[in-house]
């Protein structure tokens, strides 16, 4: 099912980025986010009510159900409660609380309607935030050892063959927030996510996959790959300054694909997570 979502997310982004040209160009690297989703729940917009509800929960319910409503000393998780999840604006929750479940140790709470509504606002807001993974906040990921990262950069990682902390990577730690930095450390394809609209299609980028097409006549064209299938190849011919397409029939014309980021792609199966964390810390230190 999630594949459906990811496809839809990619399609939406394509519509924006390649509105006038080849929509088939995969763009999922531009933002790197693969978790768009459509939901039944809607956000709680009255933040003041959410705040009041939270204070009320801590004061009235927190001892048993926890200060975050996920369960405490004997009381169940309220954000997973069917009564709470199916409640509408405090109505069903209020009816439940005014009776309680004395047989199971749950006393009744006869709160005014306004407070019931506030309590429901907090709980529904918490449930919405649990359910909506687009809103999850990535925590502090710069936990690695920058010195070990530096050693990896010039040693086992063999990064220094192409990159330099005083050259292309100068100030990179200040340029990108850590998650973007880590993503680009792995595969720096296209423009980093969140840095504004791209200047042009991905196949125009220097990090785009490249292709050389050679016709039986000996004529050839080289440039950024737009699309390659068993039946056609489309590229941005750098020398001609235009997009060209060729139909394919088996091995004719000859097609050779090269990836300027092949070293990064090959390294994807070699990284340990510790090496990745250390390198992230090292690059983040290059302010």
């Amino acid at each position: 099912m999630k594949q459906d979502r990811n496809r839809r997310a990619r399609r939406d982004r394509r519509a924006i980025i390649f509105s006038a040209c080849f929509a088939i160009c995969a763009v999922f690297f531009l933002s790197g986010v693969t978790d768009a989703q459509q939901q039944a729940l809607t956000p709680v917009t009255d933040q003041a009510a959410v705040d009041r509800g939270k204070a009320l929960l801590v004061e009235q319910c927190g001892f048993c159900h926890g200060a975050n409503a996920r369960g405490g000393s004997g009381g169940p998780d309220l954000t997973r409660s069917v009564v709470v999840q199916e409640d509408e604006g405090g109505k069903q929750l209020g009816a439940f609380l005014r009776v309680g479940r004395p047989d199971r140790g749950m006393p009744k709470f006869d709160l005014p309607d306004a407070q019931m509504s506030d309590l429901a606002a907090f709980l529904h807001s918490a449930i919405y935030l649990n359910a909506n993974r687009r809103l999850y906040k990535i925590l502090d990921i710069v936990v690695g050892d920058p010195k070990a990262g530096q050693a990896y950069f010039s040693g086992a990682g063999r990064c220094s063959g192409c990159h330099s902390p005083t050259g292309d990577l100068k100030g990179v730690g200040a340029k990108y927030e850590p998650t973007v930095l880590q993503g680009r450390l792995l595969v720096p394809r296209g423009r980093p996510g969140g840095s504004g609209p791209p200047a042009g299609p991905l196949y125009m980028e220097k990090t785009a996959i490249k292709v050389t097409v050679t016709l039986p006549s000996g004529e050839s064209a080289t440039g950024g790959l737009v699309r390659l299938t068993d039946f056609d190849v489309i590229l941005y011919d750098t020398a001609a300054g235009r997009v060209r397409s060729f139909l394919r029939n088996g091995d004719v014309p000859k097609v050779v694909v090269t990836d300027p980021l092949q070293a990064h792609v090959d390294h994807l199966t070699k990284w340990t997570d510790t090496e990745m964390h250390n390198m992230t810390a090292y690059l983040a230190s290059l302010k």
Partner: protein, 569 residues
């Protein structure tokens, strides 16, 4: 050569269904009566078939085996180059001329997008029946002309997709995103009744295609945003009332509760039965795969194997009682449901004939089991980049490696949460002995975002970093080895496409896509492409085939459009 078994009960049901449907004319009285006469004349051949009928497609997979293999060969490796367009039908989602039902508002909720056809149409008596979220259509198979359109007024819910409809006699069944089980008159599209089966406020949404087995209409729920329990149900075909329910995680006092740390985690453990399963009438067992456990990417609050999530389950369709199970991913922490089709294979294994069930699973592995007992026969890895296991354990299961769980500073995992493959229906060709499926080789960093002792929902974020080496693969069912692998299309950033709906035929053909809008006929033995058509989108459902008036049709959905192909008469 593989032994083919006769699915006698299946054939009887097909005949009963077809006859009942043809006996009840609707709005298009003359038209329907005509096609009914023609189709009934050929029903004898339907009954005689051991698999997908030549002139009908009566279930989601065409038959109960899930092979999506047709014995038709009018279109074959020699003449497929002459395959041409017969008709096109583009979705009409307007309610203006539709039969309208549903509990939602007159104005659809904002944010709706053009639906994509993910259902495999049923074809009975010259009519195709298919669905997208909130809509069901009946089309004349000869012309692609709309016979009727039913539109559902939705209350909301995730409109991600709908796998299709089920038909028994005069009645059609389908599910809605806001979790209603709806029955329509096959002939007219008029609604008979609807029942709510789950509450969308808990983030349940329903996508499954109802599976008709005898008098059981088997349906399942979906949802993975909140930690809600999954269940499979059988409903009465006349009233729509509940017959039985099977929970996908055990309840207190039942077997295998020790695969969860406590009652709360077990009762909120997910395991959605997303996709229609398969059925063996001789064993009277229904096979289906369950979804991933909840919370999705954080496993530390649900220590244990988390049965029966990510599991192939065999149950008695009359009682809803489980007969055996095999878990393909113990304690999943990467969203790799096991909902992929469990395909029934009858053939030799290690020198003796066996009744087997095979799955190319989302976790990057191929599994082969004895389908009478659940005995494990074979596990192989089909995805080169896979980096998340400690190997295969004594039961043939990929062993969970806690080091590859989502972490706060990020964990690099392959495949990504899309998995090595996904829900689109694969195909097994008994003449080549090959199981075909589309694969995707993604890499993602998974970040734990919910560090509470009781994380909820997804509990982690994912950032995709690369997709490389996607391919259409053919696996030898006996050895689990990849016989051939055909790379899919590329764009400027890497591979495109991946999992895809497939159909194989006795014409030596495998119909699928190339990951870039081309609908392709491949040589089933070698993977060489023999024919293609550039469509408006990459194919989005399972291709199907049948003959109408002696002419073989290939029908496939791509985005919002259904295409029919045939040889020029």
């Amino acid at each position: 050569m593989i032994r083919l078994r006769c699915f006698a009960a299946s054939a009887r049901q097909v005949r009963a269904r077809c006859f009942a449907a043809s006996a009840r004319p609707g709005h298009f009285l003359t038209f329907v009566s005509f096609v009914s006469f023609v189709s009934f004349a050929s029903l004898v051949s339907v009954v005689a078939r051991a698999q997908i009928p030549s002139d009908a497609w009566p279930t989601y997979h065409g038959d109960y085996t899930g092979r999506r293999f047709s014995t038709l060969k009018q279109i074959n490796t020699t003449n497929v180059k002459n395959l041409t367009l017969a008709w096109v039908y583009r979705l009409n989602t307007s309610r203006a001329a539709a039969i309208v039902g549903g509990e939602g508002p007159e104005t659809p909720p904002p944010g709706g997008t053009t639906p994509s056809i993910k259902s495999t149409p049923l074809m009975l008596n010259g009519i195709l029946y298919f669905s997208v979220p909130d809509h069901v259509y009946a089309l004349d198979v000869r012309t692609g002309r709309e016979v009727w359109h039913y539109a559902w007024k939705t209350r909301g819910g995730d409109h991600i997709g709908n796998r299709g409809v089920g038909i028994l006699g005069n009645w059609l069944y389908f599910l809605t995103p806001d979790n209603y089980f709806v029955s329509l008159d096959v002939a007219t599209g008029k609604e008979r009744w609807h029942h709510e089966i789950a509450n969308m406020k808990r983030e349940y949404f329903s996508t499954n295609a109802p599976m008709v087995i005898g008098r059981q209409i088997i349906i399942g729920v979906g949802g993975d945003a909140l930690d809600i329990p999954g269940y499979l149900e059988s409903r009465d075909p006349e009233s729509g009332n509940l017959v039985w329910r099977w929970n996908t995680t055990p309840r207190a006092g039942e077997a295998n509760t020790n695969s969860w740390p406590d009652e709360d985690s077990m009762a909120h453990g997910g395991g959605m039965p997303w996709i229609p399963g398969t059925y063996d009438p001789e064993l009277n067992l229904y096979y289906f795969g369950t979804g991933n456990p909840q919370p999705v990417l954080a496993g530390f609050s649900r220590a244990g194997d988390n049965l029966y999530t990510c599991t192939i389950v065999a149950l008695n369709p009359n009682t809803g009682k489980m007969v055996w199970y095999y878990q393909v991913t113990p304690h999943d922490t990467h969203d790799w449901d096991a909902a992929q089709t469990p395909i029934l294979i009858d053939g030799d294994f290690n020198g003796r004939p066996r009744k087997m069930v095979a799955q190319a699973s989302r976790n990057g592995h191929y599994f082969l089991l004895d389908r009478a007992t659940g005995e494990h026969l074979l596990t192989t890895k089909y995805l080169d980049s896979l980096n998340w296991t400690k190997g295969i354990n004594a039961k043939g299961q990929p062993a969970h490696d806690p080091a590859k769980d989502a972490s706060v500073p990020g964990t690099l995992v392959s495949p990504d949460t899309n998995g090595g493959t996904n829900w689109p229906p694969p195909s097994f060709n008994p003449e080549t002995g090959l199981l075909y499926f589309g694969t995707r080789q993604g890499f993602s960093v998974m970040y734990l975002t919910d560090t509470d002792g009781k994380p909820q929902g997804w509990a982690a974020a994912e950032r995709n970093v690369a997709v490389v080496g996607n391919a259409l693969k053919a696996v030898d069912y006996k050895t689990g080895q990849v016989k051939w692998s055909r790379p899919l299309a590329m764009g400027p950033a890497g591979s495109t496409g991946g999992p895809m709906g497939l159909l194989s035929t006795s014409g030596g053909l495998l119909f699928g896509n190339d990951g870039a809008n081309n609908f392709v006929a491949y040589d089933a033995s070698s993977g060489k492409p023999l024919w293609h058509a550039g469509l408006g989108a990459t194919t989005s459902n399972g291709p199907q085939t049948f003959t109408v008036d002696g002419r073989q049709f290939i029908v496939v959905g791509a985005g919002d459009t259904l295409y029919a192909f045939a040889l020029q008469p």
